[in-house]
């Protein structure tokens, strides 16, 4: 059941008052706390996430819940404010005593919640793709990480378009780390970064950047721009006649730019995605039908919303395998390996060493008519990097976020 709101709005608001059926057996419900932004700059990302969670909860409850217990979903809107993320994480964990916490969009919001989750020693699902590296036993990461997105995309782009790359990145952790990953992956391919620019968040004017790109004459652009303001780059580049191929881990399936910008602005944009709405498998088609039935006005089912949906099913699988909602019992299930579910993208599993999720990655491209095509199927890719550098949650809990320039100290 959702908390009722005092004032309901029109159009895009999710349906309130979902009355869960109480099964004859299940006594007290399983409480799931959800913290997603549905106001402010990130509302575009947060609303599909809320919808995904609601759809999953409704489906699971209709089939009898988890171990006969209904799910009670409590959602709070942090309005894009990190302080509110902290306040609400504390509230959900301490006052409402939820069994699991899900949420967070930016890495900053995740890092704001993590100390609180660690101190309360509860379980937390982070459902976004991000720059990778969090080695924390209290967190399960559902989104794709660089070794899944970039180690597939960048070699493909180099092979198809060439070795000269120009990086345009948002000037914060995600941008810097992804740019670093780019450099690392390009080196053995003899790729060359002919230019690298970091743009402060909120900047929307790119004339100088476009000129710099034209000066450097790259083969393709590695786009790591984040936020609505920085997305203006595409329109401005297209107007200036830039017309270069672009590769990005965070466009198309995340912000559905190909639906929002007039063609051919996003022409020749490529990404490696675990989920995109144009995916055409039977499981995906069925999932999309159910989503659009419940949320007919949804402009696009993005990978964040899909991950949010899948996370609920992962939690269900874990609780049923552990026969308990306690974090330690669930972790035992993960440690044994084989914690897998059949998701609309294919089968995905939680890696015991890093508690990140494997994904079925496909390379997608946008053409001049804003249509999405699949150009390559990479199969299932494990989140191997953290295990490789020494993170092993079956043995020790680091509670740290690592990166290529911040590796664990050898023990």
């Amino acid at each position: 059941m959702r908390r009722r709101s005092l004032i309901s709005g029109a159009a895009v608001l999710p349906v309130f008052a979902i009355v869960g059926r109480h099964s004859g057996l299940g006594a007290d419900p399983i409480k799931i706390g959800l913290i997603e932004d549905i106001s402010g700059d990130l509302a575009m990302m947060g609303l599909p996430k809320l919808h995904g969670s609601e759809l999953a909860v409704e489906e699971i409850n209709n089939k009898g819940g988890i171990m006969g217990r209904q799910i009670l979903l409590t959602h709070l809107d942090p309005q894009g404010d990190n302080a509110r993320y902290q306040e609400f994480a504390r509230r959900l964990l301490q006052r409402d005593k939820v069994d699991v916490l899900i949420g967070g969009i930016t890495s900053a919001s995740r890092e704001a919640i993590r100390p609180i989750v660690d101190r309360q020693n509860e379980l937390y699902f982070y459902t976004n793709q991000y720059e990778g590296g969090v080695c924390d036993a209290n967190m399960i990461s559902v989104g794709a990480v660089p070794e899944q997105q970039l180690s597939t995309l960048i070699p493909w782009m180099v092979e198809k378009f060439g070795k000269r790359v120009y990086t345009i990145a948002a000037d914060y952790n995600f941008g810097h780390l992804s740019a670093e990953w780019g450099r690392t992956i390009l080196k053995p391919l003899n790729g060359e970064i002919v230019g690298e620019e970091f743009i402060p968040l909120g900047v929307s004017q790119f004339a100088q950047t476009i000129q710099n790109v034209q000066n450097a004459k790259p083969d393709w652009l590695y786009m790591l721009n984040v936020g609505a303001a920085q997305d203006s780059f595409f329109e401005q580049a297209s107007a200036a006649g830039l017309n270069l191929p672009m590769g990005s881990p965070i466009k198309i399936m995340l912000g559905f730019e190909h639906k929002r910008f007039a063609a051919p602005t996003l022409n020749n944009m490529h990404a490696a995605a675990n989920w995109f709405e144009e995916l055409d498998t039977p499981a995906a088609t069925d999932f999309k039908k159910r989503w659009h039935t419940k949320f007919p006005k949804e402009p696009y089912i993005n990978d964040m919303g899909y991950n949010a949906y899948v996370a609920l099913y992962m939690y269900k699988m874990l609780v049923e395998a552990a026969k308990s909602t306690k974090k330690d019992d669930i972790r035992k299930v993960i440690d044994q390996g084989g914690a897998c579910i059949d998701a609309p993208e294919g089968q995905i599993c939680i890696d015991p060493k890093s508690q990140h999720t494997s994904h079925h990655m496909r390379l997608i491209s946008v053409d001049a008519q804003n249509q999405v095509h699949v150009d390559k199927d990479f199969g299932v890719i494990q989140p191997y990097w953290l295990g490789q550098i020494g993170c092993d949650l079956t043995k020790h809990n680091d509670k740290e976020q690592y990166s290529p320039d911040h590796l664990p100290k050898p023990s």
């Binding site: 709005g9 029109a10 159009a11 895009v12 608001l13 106001s39 402010g40 700059d41 509302a43 575009m44 609303l47 000037d171 620019e197 970091f198 743009i199 402060p200 909120g202 900047v203 929307s204 004017q205 004339a207 100088q208 950047t209 476009i210 000129q211 034209q214 000066n215 609505a228 303001a229 997305d231 203006s232 329109e235 401005q236 297209s238 107007a239 200036a240 006649g241 830039l242 639906k259 929002r260 910008f261 007039a262 063609a263 602005t265 006005k297 402009p299």
Partner: protein, 288 residues
Amino acid sequence: MFADLFAYFYQFADVFAFLVLSAAGLAVIFGMMGIINMAHGEFIMCGAYVTTFAYHDGLPLPLAQGCGAIAAGAIGVALEATLIRPLYSRPLDSLLVTWGLGLIATQGTLIVLGSSVAGIGTPSGGFRVGGYGFSTYRMILFAASVCVLAFIYLLFMRTRFGVHARATMQNAGMAQALGVRRNRIYALTFGVGAALAGLCGALYAPTMTLIPTMGSTFIVEAFVTVVVGGASVLLGTAPAAVALALIRTGLNGVYGQVFGQIGLLLAVVLIIRVLPQGFSGWLAKRAS
């Protein structure tokens, strides 16, 4: 050689246009009326949204942009009559009211229209000079910014309305005693300021992502340009925009956008330190 010079000019013109267009409406409202309009970004957003909807309904782009500006102006007039008028002697209260209005506008737009709207493509194509491609529309924006400055000058210096408006701002009581319809002047001036903000949104709509909080990307530049310009919109806005555009373009070109942004803010601090009344105060002193 020519290509490089043109490229520098193009960069400068681009930043100059952005500063002038985002600051013009705020300069009129603050400079002429002393109201700190924290909802300035929302008037910009209003202009952008109305333009987009009008365009998608079939109007040609310039007409749609005109609609955007007029819609913002109309809302400005309505707001002025109801909420803003009591606040002329209390500029810091205008900050609070307009901040609240901004919250209502952004969230209301989100609830009613959704979190994003399909955009308009940038019109007019591009042209090449030397090895670079440029967007014609950015040059149109530059031309528009110059026109806006000319319009403000002509409106406030050469029309009867302008004379009345300046008189009212200087000394409302005396102007009223001389027969000026004070409330009408207030409403129209605020409307002009709001319309200019809406025009900014309308002009930039084809180049940007349309979300309810899109106004926030203009706010900082608008405020610093207005304040560096000083109290007089006629004397101050243009030199302030020129100075800040030169600084921003220079830093962008040499050090990149990060230093461009930080450098701009620190330059503002320096300029105000040297010219505590802004450009218009300095120019006024020199003139007298």
